[in-house]
């Protein structure tokens, strides 16, 4: 596990001991890529299981034993094709997937050797190798149908949908609100997980299939309506994710220094020079998911002296994986459980501390103990989840704040499909979004062909 160059002193009087060059180093690759010798050795650990558990655990059902074997017989490009044919964003998934709770968790080598085959690293080795070659796009399109789909959101779900639909012979226009495509791949992952502009390189590879146009600065429900799209296109796919950070309603929420972790992460990803990103000395991150970890660890990487991650429940309920928590701990993040924020307080409209109430579990219910605890903070990052909002959502049948789809990824509105974090398909994972997009594309293809008798 990587340790970054973070401040070691907790004395307020000491000058910050993280140098700009340290910060730069901290934002280099979290995992060094395997070279071909390492990949060969690692590949040789794979047992080529029958009905491999890793493959079952992968939401996109990548044939993992096959691609690892292809690496071990010096056919890394073939391995990349095995991966990409199931998961066109295999490069991002190799970096961002919590493999420790997916393929690598169920790897049988855990039982014999105590640690799994590094499937994620091998996947990255194969996909990066193919992408770096910049050869012609390896997938071909079926004869063009002339049908057009509108896709809302250029995140993992929308991109996977578009690529697969393009393969199936249809054209796609993607509408995205941000200046750059990629969704959370571009804006929502820790910078050290996606170095060298990988999200954009991967998108450019994906778009090389042709037939996909991306329009940026398009906000659904504002300058883009469903009615309009349905009249101009043969169908619509919604892959908006959960675009709005959930907020807390409490005193001090508008103090300077209180912001959303997702905005902080996005800002870091887009910063031309990370060493120039301002950071406080006492950071409190509120939340218990991987976004909270990404924010907390990056705050340490920037040089923050004290970073506390406060979660209102206990370790068993925490959404962040054990691996992510360890990454935070070895990098000096303090994780405190059973703390629920009550108030942000400060003077001159600037936050100075977070007032917490300590919590407990009683008879299965989370309740306050009555005890109050303050943690000094000159910067508060809220990471308590995201949600959908906007009047357009009301047109759809929703459940628990997510769009309801049937087994064909169809929403309650005819010709409208949805996938990714905005539907309730399982975990909010990039790899699940890719699978949703891919499957929805096949359903949309069937719909288009059936309705038009082709």
């Amino acid at each position: 596990m990587r340790t970054f160059k973070t401040s070691t002193t907790r004395s307020q009087a000491e000058p910050n001991d993280v140098k700009p060059s340290d910060v730069e180093d901290n934002f280099t690759d979290l995992h060094l890529p395997l070279n071909s010798v390492q990949a060969g050795v690692e590949a040789s650990r794979c047992l080529y299981c029958f009905d491999a558990p890793c493959m079952t655990a992968c939401p996109t059902k990548i044939d993992i034993p096959k691609f690892i074997r292809q690496i071990s017989v010096n056919k890394a490009d073939d391995a990349a094709m095995t991966i990409l044919s199931q998961n066109i964003l295999g490069g991002t998934c190799a970096r961002a997937c919590p493999t420790e709770i997916l393929c690598e968790e169920v790897c049988v080598v855990n039982h014999s050797e105590g640690s799994p085959v590094k499937i994620g690293d091998l996947q990255r080795h194969a996909v990066d190798g193919l992408l770096q070659k910049n050869d012609a796009h390896p997938f071909t399109r079926k004869p063009l149908s002339g049908f057009r789909f509108a896709v809302i959101g250029a995140g993992p779900a929308g991109l996977a949908f578009s690529h697969r639909l393009a393969m199936l012979g249809h054209d796609v226009v993607i509408f995205d609100k941000n200046p750059k495509a990629g969704g959370l791949n571009e804006y929502g992952l820790a910078a050290y997980k996606m170095v060298d502009d990988f999200a954009q390189r991967e998108i450019s590879f994906l778009l090389d299939i042709g037939g996909i146009e991306i329009k940026n600065g398009q906000i659904f429900g504002v300058n883009l309506t469903l009615k309009e799209l349905l009249s101009n296109f043969d169908g619509v796919f919604i892959g908006v994710g959960l675009p709005v950070p959930r907020d807390v309603q409490m005193r001090g929420n508008d103090l300077a220094g209180v912001s959303n972790a997702l905005d902080f992460i996005a800002h870091l990803r887009q910063a031309p020079d990370v060493t120039k990103v301002p950071i406080g000395n006492d950071i409190v991150v509120i939340g218990g998911g991987n976004t909270a970890i990404d924010a907390a660890v990056q705050a340490r990487c920037l040089g923050a002296r004290n970073v506390t991650l406060a979660y209102r429940r206990g370790p068993d309920d925490m959404g962040a994986t054990l691996w992510e928590r360890e990454l935070a701990l070895v990098n000096g993040v303090t994780i405190k459980y059973w703390l629920s924020p009550k108030e942000f307080s400060g003077t001159n409209n600037i936050v100075e501390q977070v007032v917490f109430e300590t919590m407990q579990m009683r008879e299965g219910k989370l309740i306050p103990t009555g005890e109050v605890m303050n943690i000094p903070a000159d910067m508060v990052l809220k990471a308590i989840g995201q949600e959908m909002n906007g009047a357009w959502v009301n047109d759809f049948e929703t459940r628990h704040g997510k769009i309801v789809v049937n087994e064909h990824y169809q929403t309650s509105i005819d010709r409208v499909y949805a996938g990714g974090d905005c539907i309730a398909s399982g975990e909010d994972l990039t790899v699940q979004a890719v699978e949703d997009g891919k499957q929805a594309a096949h359903r949309a293809d069937v719909m288009l062909r059936e309705r038009n008798n082709i």
Binding site: G40, V41, A43, S44, L47, Y48, C49, F50, D51, A52, P53, S72, V108, V109, H111, S112
Partner: protein, 431 residues
């Protein structure tokens, strides 16, 4: 502490580990380093007749076959016999033997198949004080094109003839090195014995093409666009060598003949297996060329501690101990029934046993039980073939267990304690 002292046709060495005739024994510098490292003896790289020495290719001489972890499992060479002048080799042999009197010094020889050629070289070798000679009748490449090496070793009459000349012209013990590139190794071994050989050593390298360069479309190693067959050795050849050693050890005509075992020996265990099948000393080359001379340390220590564990005092105690248990297929007990048993606690659920059995054998291992991934032997189908044991990645997870009573659920036949051999089997038309 076991006593590893080896007595081999009057040649004494402090341990049974000799370096085989090959590049590691081509000159004094290497051999002295080997003796310092602890090797019990060497067979000096093959000397040819007086005159301009042979020449070797100046391009690659070796090729390799790798396992998936890039460990070399097989090795191939197209090197010829020593390319240094005879006199220099003889001087160096003499010097090393004088300085290392306790180590076995055997000199490998290959001269044309003419009596005079052998008659003239033997006194020169004898003069060095060497302990014995080894007749190189095995080299499968290059020299065989000139009527030497394997070209002699493949004709039992020639073996017998040359061996007889050597026994006639020298008092040194004569070891005949056999080529595996024949159909039945017993014939050349018998010929060596008939010629009066004191011992045989085997195997020499196996004729091989170790690989093909798919860009240049030429065998490797490739010399200026062409390749030739070479001699194959290394761990992969051990099973072939073990069988040939055992065939000679249990042959009616050659039983009891001294054998120096060669072929893929890399560890103490490999050596012990050769000894058990009838060898009295062993020769090593590829392992030394792969790891350097110091591997002899753990070979000596490993053999020693294994002998202590088992209560074996001397090399003679081990030599040939497994030979009585090597037999023909027709003498195997057909009433001996085994079934594979999978240790569920050790099983890591890779499913390799299932798919191997399902696709290629007897459909005798489950993949599921009660909706769970579960691998278990179906005794009604298991023929006891051992495939699952062989391919299981976890050592001792699957074992073959003998049925000692009851009914074999596959055949519905009662287990019999009385052995039944093919020779007596009712289905045997030759009975």
């Amino acid at each position: 502490m076991a006593n590893l002292t080896t007595h081999f046709a009057g040649i004494k060495s402090p341990n049974p580990f000799w370096l085989a005739s090959a590049p590691p024994t081509d000159k004094e510098y290497n051999v002295v380093r080997a003796f310092k490292a602890g090797w019990g003896g060497v067979v000096w790289k093959t000397l040819g007749e007086e005159g301009p020495p042979v020449v070797n290719v100046n391009g690659p001489r070796y090729g390799a076959l790798y396992g998936s972890d890039r460990r070399m499992v097989g090795f191939n060479n197209i090197e010829l016999i020593t390319d240094r002048p005879l006199q220099i080799n003889l001087q160096e042999i003499k010097s090393v033997k004088r300085n290392w009197p306790d180590r076995a010094m055997i000199v490998s020889l290959m001269v044309p198949c003419e009596e005079d050629a052998w008659k003239s070289i033997l006194p020169l070798v004898e003069d060095t004080g060497a302990d014995g000679i080894e007749l190189n009748f095995g080299c499968p490449h290059g020299m065989s094109e000139r009527g030497m090496g394997a070209a002699v070793g493949q004709v039992p009459d020639y073996i017998e003839m040359v061996t007889r000349w050597c026994k006639h012209y020298t008092r040194m013990p004569v070891i005949v090195k056999l080529t595996p590139n024949i159909t039945d190794v017993r014939y050349p071994a018998r010929a060596a014995k008939a010629g009066g050989a004191d011992a045989v050593s085997l195997i020499n390298t196996i004729n091989s093409i170790v690989g093909v360069d798919l860009d240049t479309m030429a065998p490797s190693p490739t010399v200026d666009g062409k390749g030739t067959h070479g001699g194959y050795c290394g761990p992969a050849v051990k099973p072939i060598a073990l069988n040939m050693v055992a065939e000679i050890a249990r042959d009616h005509d050659t039983a009891g003949m001294l054998i120096s075992g060669i072929g893929g020996i890399e560890t103490w265990r490999d050596a012990a297996e050769f000894l058990a099948l009838g060898a009295t000393s062993v020769q090593v080359c590829t392992a030394a060329m792969t790891y350097g001379f110091r591997i002899v340390e753990d070979m000596i220590e490993g053999l020693n501690s294994w002998m202590d564990e088992k209560g074996y005092g001397t090399i003679e105690d081990i030599s040939g101990r497994a030979v009585p248990n090597v037999t023909d297929w027709q003498h195997l007990n057909l009433n001996y029934v085994t079934k594979a048993v999978i240790d569920q606690d050790a099983c890591i659920k890779c499913g390799r046993c299932h798919i191997a059995c399902e696709d290629t054998s007897h459909q005798a291992i489950t993949a599921m039980k009660d909706g769970e991934r579960h691998f278990e032997v179906i005794n009604e189908e298991c023929v006891g073939c051992n495939l699952c044991v062989a391919i299981c990645p976890v050592e001792n997870c699957i074992t073959m267990e003998q049925m000692i009573d009851g009914v074999d659920p596959r055949t519905n036949k009662k287990i019999s304690t009385k052995p039944l051999h093919w020779t007596d089997h009712p289905n045997n038309p030759m009975k």
